[in-house]
């Protein structure tokens, strides 16, 4: 099945408009901070959220509005996460939705809400209220760039993707925008991703597809091990492609799931690559595991290890740190069967075999590890399950962004 990537983002699919404006939420900044995605017709909708017990107010409101599995708009602000703000925060998140709904002549629960930014600071709902008319007026098929910009915090590049594929003779388009895990202000990163599609699919299957996809993509990214209070992935499917509605897990469902996963994989890697201070994208491939679950836990252990991340920053082929990270993950494996190989566009080099050292050319290892995208391949030789986990290196810049206010 052919997937073709095209230019664009959330407005690429039929019947979607978007906008992004500055309404004044980032102190002393004229950057855009308010975004809107709108479907011209009601859409099936689904969401996946952070597992952190501390959740931003928008998450409670959005979950509530998704009880009926339908929505028609998503309003997002940056500059303030509206988290740890008590009942006041909940009321304001609700208000954001209702003000936007009114402007669009929708019911309040047809509007979903997301926020990213500073924690523990009351949301400036007045600025948002004042911005909503312009935000709504600016909705257009060309609005995805503005929307994508408005959700950014410390992202160094906009993250937008769009693709098309066919179901029968019907062209299906999927678009997405996301923001990565980094913020200039000293607060935590949040992963937000908003996906639009003109596919016609039942809400239940849309949720299934999103859940499957998120599990093997966004949930396999770790920049610094901290899961934000505001992480959210939302998808709207408005049926405007007019394909026969997908109501069971047939080959059309598979085609959609495949495309959605492909797009989300790229998006997840972009988020990992843009981690605070990152100079390299790291992909840990755990293969030959007893189960997918084991593979993911092991992969995350490697990707989260400060010692592995700093070694990668320094282009050091330190496989001992990788073995150490595997070893404390609390998953059974045979320490005398593990192979470790580093791969990149400059080549590949095996550095550990059967859990022990292997003579290798340090010069080649340095070449391989000096690249900007590195694969750490770990073969456990225990089964046929595998998982890929993404992250980034740990540099001075990370410490500077998150800890050094003198500079």
């Amino acid at each position: 099945m052919d997937i073709k990537y095209i230019n664009g983002g959330v407005t690429a699919p039929k019947g979607f408009l978007a906008s992004g404006i500055h309404c004044g939420l980032k102190p002393g900044s004229l950057k855009k901070d308010l975004a809107l995605i709108y479907s011209e017709v009601p859409a099936a909708a689904a969401g996946m959220y952070t597992k952190n017990k501390v959740k931003g107010a928008p998450i409670y409101i959005t979950k509530e509005h998704l009880t009926n599995k339908k929505a028609q708009a998503i309003i997002i602000n940056s500059g303030n996460a509206n988290t740890c703000t008590g009942d006041d925060g909940l009321q304001k998140a609700k208000k954001m939705a209702s003000l936007q709904a009114k402007e669009l002549k929708l019911k309040t629960d047809d509007v979903l809400v997301a926020s990213t930014g500073v924690i523990g600071v009351p949301l400036n709902i007045d600025a948002i209220k004042n911005g909503i008319p312009l935000l709504t007026e600016n909705l257009s098929m060309e609005g995805s760039n503005d929307a994508s910009e408005a959700i950014m915090t410390t992202d160094t590049f906009q993250k937008q993707l769009a693709l098309e594929f066919y179901i029968g003779d019907k062209k299906i388009t999927i678009g997405a925008m996301a923001k990565g895990s980094g913020m200039i202000e000293p607060n935590m990163g949040t992963m937000l991703s908003f996906i639009t599609t003109d596919l016609s699919i039942s809400p239940e299957l849309l949720h299934e597809a999103l859940k499957s996809t998120v599990n093997v993509t966004y949930n396999r990214v770790s920049v610094d091990g901290d899961t934000s209070t505001n992480d959210m992935v939302l998808i709207l499917a408005n049926g405007s492609a007019e394909n026969p509605t997908i109501t069971k897990k047939d080959e059309n469902y598979d085609a959609f799931l495949n495309a959605l996963t492909d797009l989300s994989t790229i998006m997840a890697k972009n988020i990992a690559k843009d981690g605070e201070g990152a100079t390299k994208l790291l992909e840990c491939q755990i293969i030959g595991a007893k189960s997918d679950k084991d593979a993911v836990v092991l992969g995350k252990s490697v990707i989260n290890s400060s010692l592995v991340k700093t070694a990668m920053f320094g282009s050091d082929a330190n496989w001992g740190r990788i073995l150490c990270a595997l070893g404390y993950a609390d998953i059974d494996f045979d320490t005398e069967k593990v192979d470790v190989t580093f791969e990149s566009s400059a080549g590949s080099i095996k550095v550990c075999e059967a859990g022990s050292s292997l003579p290798f050319d340090e010069g080649i290892a340095k070449k391989v590890l000096n690249e900007k995208e590195i694969v750490i391949k770990v073969n456990l030789f225990l089964g046929n399950h595998s998982a890929y986990v993404w992250g980034c290196d740990l540099s001075y810049e990370y410490v500077k962004i998150n800890g050094d206010y003198r500079s």
Copy 2:
């Protein structure tokens, strides 16, 4: 019960000698790298080891030798961890013990082994063999400084402690030396601690006491979340104080446990304080928890969080990051009941109440956080269990030590 701290280390208790020499294990360095602790009479012995599935060869040998719960000497080398070295490594660890045993006229299994240093590099057993005669000859009651120096890797200060207390009219002494979690070469940190005492106690109770102590001290230190492949705590109790042998958990056992825990707490904090690149010791106190176990998991989540550690490096009163770390620890708690307070010798300041922001004086917060020892106190208001966990901040120096080989 009075504990009195005195000068000294592992040779403070009656009947213990120690030595430390250079035998040539650290390439291009004349630093000491081989240490020996010796009891003039056989001693009850116990050990606790890393839970990492990847274990250094010395751990296997030492565990084997401790099956009979007795020992009389411990030989330790730095410069090479003898880990991920396969069968060759196991044989060499065994050989270290047997060569030393021969020199001391002991049985091989009366000698315990430990190593710290580079991983995956074959151990230079010949250098050790050549060093053992001098190492043994140098044994003296004044040898604890040399021994303590010989086990260091990136430690910036020696870690030795000694104390005395009384059981009836018998003076009991406990001595200890430890090394922290840092290495100049780009490898992982290892926590090693060696404890000596002239107490007379049954081997079973010695093991119980060590286990209890380790659980609330060494196991509550995290420098960077990486549990080394070589972590080990060993204790020898040679009975030379001639107190009535402790055979049940009576008040004398309690007195010993109390002293051992007190000493190990200080040692654990010293290890945390000397974490690579650390500029501050962090103590996270989780109070009001439902269970000790919950409290420890929550405390470790906070102490391990890169975002919390960098905030502390920058003296930033960022309680949001602390709440976030608590939230992803996968422990139930009421997010609307949490208080967070920062304390140090410069004062204390509450920054979060009932899970929400509290207005606080940024100037005072900065003063409190600029100190070198900071307490992050989290009250969950759920029960009466608590735990203290120690770690350190995350600085540029950590990245430099572990990742930057250009410098």
